[in-house]
């Protein structure tokens, strides 16, 4: 993370980064002699890196849980429609929304509401005879996703070129605009839901054994699925709301952890959070440095870096067949 803070359009020596962060966090030592550097490190870089870490953790964990909830290794916030719901919400506000001053808060709130709306729809459509069926959930997610996507495309047609650029950047994901003020909520949601989901670890493990076996192991499968869906929709909605829809993290990170340390959710979820955080901090670092001083949206890099690595991993591991 320190490296992530130090490198950017202006490189700051690591020693200075330490001093500035330490000073702000603990009050130890003196303020840095160069206020501009202090400003860059503490007000721009640090919140950005923290946000990248939190978002990476959230996306990874929600992917890991969703894969188990719908017993499908391909599941992630995109497949279940959450991301497209958020996108529609955001795009609506960007193109139709009021003043620029409102936009910052408005886009996030709308994206969050969009993700939750998608979650509610998938939840309602994924039921049969009062039970949430895994295959039905996936199909409902895909269908709801397409509806939101087509609505998004339609709204985009009405947008001005300037708005389209904002929309595009948002859809590809970014932590550029990170501010200290938005961090507490996101961090709290990610920490609390990840902890709760990890507490459900034993039951998530039982769910791996199949619905009937899980029932025989004392798990109320239907209620568990409902609770997990609500928690993941909340988690994804919160994360996407601040960082846009960043793909592939929720798919790649959980599988990477499973392949290396196994599928026990009590280990899987904390490790996924950790690795997701590290991954997105690194990707964000690349996004700032590959094409300085311009930035490459995160979504482009997560997929570009992730996919080949993921394929290589699949080829190496024969346990998945």
């Amino acid at each position: 993370m320190m490296v992530g803070i130090s490198i950017g359009a202006v490189n700051v020596p690591l020693g200075d980064v330490w001093r500035i962060v330490l000073h702000h966090v603990t009050g130890a030592g003196e303020a840095h002699s160069d206020p501009a550097l202090d400003q860059i490190v503490w007000n721009f870089r640090t919140p950005r890196v923290v946000l990248a870490a939190v978002v990476g953790a959230g996306l990874g964990v929600s992917g890991a849980v969703l894969q188990t909830v719908v017993s499908n290794p391909l599941a992630d916030p995109i497949v279940l429609g959450f991301s497209y719901g958020a996108t529609l919400g955001a795009v609506l506000v960007i193109t139709l929304g009021g003043g620029a001053a409102l936009a910052g808060l408005g886009v996030s709130a709308a994206a969050f509401l969009g993700a939750i709306a998608a979650g509610v729809l998938v939840f309602a459509l994924g039921q049969r005879r009062g039970r949430l069926a895994p295959t039905r959930l996936v199909l409902a997610g895909v269908a709801v996703g397409y509806v939101f996507l087509s609505a998004t495309s339609y709204v985009q047609l009405q947008a001005t070129p300037a708005e389209l650029r904002t929309v595009m950047f948002w859809m590809l994901g970014s932590v550029t605009g990170a501010q200290w003020s938005q961090l507490p909520t996101v961090t709290a949601v990610v920490l609390v839901t990840t902890t709760l989901l990890t507490l459900f670890g034993r039951r998530l493990n039982a769910l791996l054994a199949g619905d009937e076996s899980a029932t025989a192991l004392g798990v109320d499968v239907n209620r568990l699925r409902a609770v997990l869906l609500v928690l993941t929709a909340l988690l994804t909605g919160t994360v996407i709301a601040v960082a846009g829809s960043i793909g592939f993290v929720g798919l790649m990170i959980p599988h990477l952890v499973r392949l290396t340390t196994g599928a026990d959710h009590r280990r899987l979820l904390p490790l996924t959070a950790l690795l997701g955080a590290v991954y997105l901090v690194l990707v964000d670092l690349l996004s700032r440095t590959l094409n300085r001083p311009n930035e490459i949206p995160l979504g482009i890099l997560t997929a570009l870096l992730g996919a080949p690595f993921f394929l290589w991993l699949l080829r190496r591991n024969k346990g998945l067949d």
């Binding site: 034993r202 054994a209 199949g210 029932t215 025989a216 798990v219 196994g262 599928a263 026990d264 346990g319």
Partner: protein, 278 residues
């Protein structure tokens, strides 16, 4: 723990699947549930391990209606080995699968303790899967998987075992070994078995389901009589205890024609010769 199923009715999508089904297993009994495909055997099991709520009637494990118990309390009494074959358990080791049996013994904040480790180790040893303990479950053979799933059920420390076609796809020796293992546990067991010979070998009592109702119940020799074997399974056969103490079924070469029935043990068939197939 004893199992009592009392006047059970089950309906799925408005179709009656089970009608007025009653059966009992005393503590320590092994009761076999037999019947042709679609007779309602697995459905009956689902009501016992609390997966399917009956439209009417009651299932009691011990003295309690299973639907009056919480899912976890019910699962501390009843363990099941089912046909979903372990689900999507790639990435879990054999030990982790067996440890799933401890799930009903913990709430959200429960951590594994000495008792859990003992129960898991004990189940692993009893089912002879110690050598596989660190293997990925997905890499096991069919027979190995069944032993692991049985170990998971034993780790649950149950007082009632529910088994759905435990020995399917296993070779004959593995079948005998598993059945002997179940006998030695002494746990009350309700087992769906496709193979009547295995049912005769394992069970104290049999219950025959046909089109959702019980058509016969009792000791093996009283149940697997020619009339039942003919009416329910459509075969000509007779059942007897051989000199070595094992009950065997002898089948005639051809099945019954549609609509044909066998008289209940006509005199000429009681002399020890197999029934003639004419």
């Amino acid at each position: 723990m004893k199992l009592t199923v009392d006047r059970l009715h089950v309906t799925l999508d408005r179709n009656p699947i089970l009608r007025d089904v009653s059966l009992q297993a005393r503590k320590g009994d092994i009761v076999g549930l037999v019947g042709p495909n679609g007779s309602g055997k697995s459905t009956l099991l689902r009501t016992v391990y609390r997966s399917l709520r009956p439209a009417d009637g009651v299932v009691r494990v011990g003295e309690d209606d299973v639907w009056a118990l919480s899912p976890r309390t019910a699962a501390r009494r009843t363990a099941a080995v089912l046909q979903d074959g372990g689900g999507n358990t790639t990435g879990l080791t054999v030990t982790e699968i067996v440890a799933l049996g401890r799930a009903p013994h913990h709430g959200l904040l429960g951590r594994d303790g000495a008792e859990d480790h003992r129960a898991v180790a004990d189940a692993v040893d009893r089912c002879g899967v110690r050598a596989l303990a660190d293997r990925d479950y997905a890499s096991l053979s069919g027979g190995e998987r069944q032993r692991v799933l049985l170990a998971r059920a034993l780790a649950q420390s149950p007082q009632l075992l529910v088994l759905d076609e435990l020995t399917n796809h296993l070779d004959i020796r593995a079948r005998f070994e598993l059945l002997d293992l179940i006998r030695t546990t002494g746990i009350t067991t309700l087992a769906v078995l496709h193979d009547l010979d295995l049912a005769a070998r394992l069970c104290d009592h049999l219950v025959v389901l046909h089109e959702g109702t019980v058509v016969a119940a009792g000791p093996v020799l009283d149940v697997l009589i020619p009339r039942i074997l003919g009416d329910v399974f459509g075969v000509r056969a007779r059942t007897e205890r051989h000199a070595d103490g094992v009950i065997r079924i002898t089948y005639a070469a051809d099945a019954l024609a549609d609509g044909e029935t066998t008289a209940d043990g006509p005199p000429e068939h009681r002399d020890g010769r197999p029934p003639t197939g004419t």
